[in-house]
Point group: C2
Chain length 121, copies 2
Amino acid sequence: MPEQNGVEVCEFLCAHESVVSEVREHMPDEDTLFELAEFYKVFGDSTRIRILTVLCRHEMCVCDLATILSMNQSAISHQLRILKQARLITSRREGKQVFYSLADDHVRHILDTAIEHLAER
Amino acid sequence: MPEQNGVEVCEFLCAHESVVSEVREHMPDEDTLFELAEFYKVFGDSTRIRILTVLCRHEMCVCDLATILSMNQSAISHQLRILKQARLITSRREGKQVFYSLADDHVRHILDTAIEHLAER
DNA sequence: TAAACACATGAACAATTATTCATATGAAGG
DNA sequence: CCTTCATATGAATAATTGTTCATGTGTTTA
């Protein structure tokens, strides 16, 4: 079997060379695609989706989020950190409490687009 | 400590009751949010993102995808199955080969939206 | 119909990740 | 200051998931 980067590939009878090389030239670089996947990964968890859905309506302190989602405070805090690192949310402190809210309307738009897509099957 | 569904929650001094109940009433049902997360999860893997990126340009047989992405055929097939179950791609058989392509332009749009978002930091 | 080929798939394994538990930080009030 | 409360975080655990390996299915061709 022919190999490529140590990985077995099919006989190149199967490889449509012109298409393959054309696509290879136009591929975005690996880093961009990796970032893209990492970005989506943040949305790919129902706890985080639920948090974002709540924040779509109101800014919210950690404790209230925990109450609404019936989860313990620690779990919420961990997920908030991930959302914040991804710049999807921001926070402001008010005394002992920290209020979280959506970073911008882009996030709303991204959620809406997906909801539409699902609605259309 | 007060409890709710067996999970510890903060004293309700902290819970802003009117906001909490208002948000609770307007939450989409759990199933919808779960589906939404599952949907994003499909995009949240760089192999699948790379496959989709390739299919954005050309329909492609499994073997060529494996060649382009320098991965073995089995790994590609597994990921194609996930993409197909999520209705992001479709396939047609031509003799021994199976050609995969994007299910619709919605997928392109979803990818583009995220790329834009990342570009804006 | 037997062999070769492209692809699919189940099981095992490896890696990633969400949640919990215990504890730390940081602000407010006594 | 010392305590209390809201939140953050490190480590351990449990669950999920991507890749590999071996093999199965379906199609063409000799």
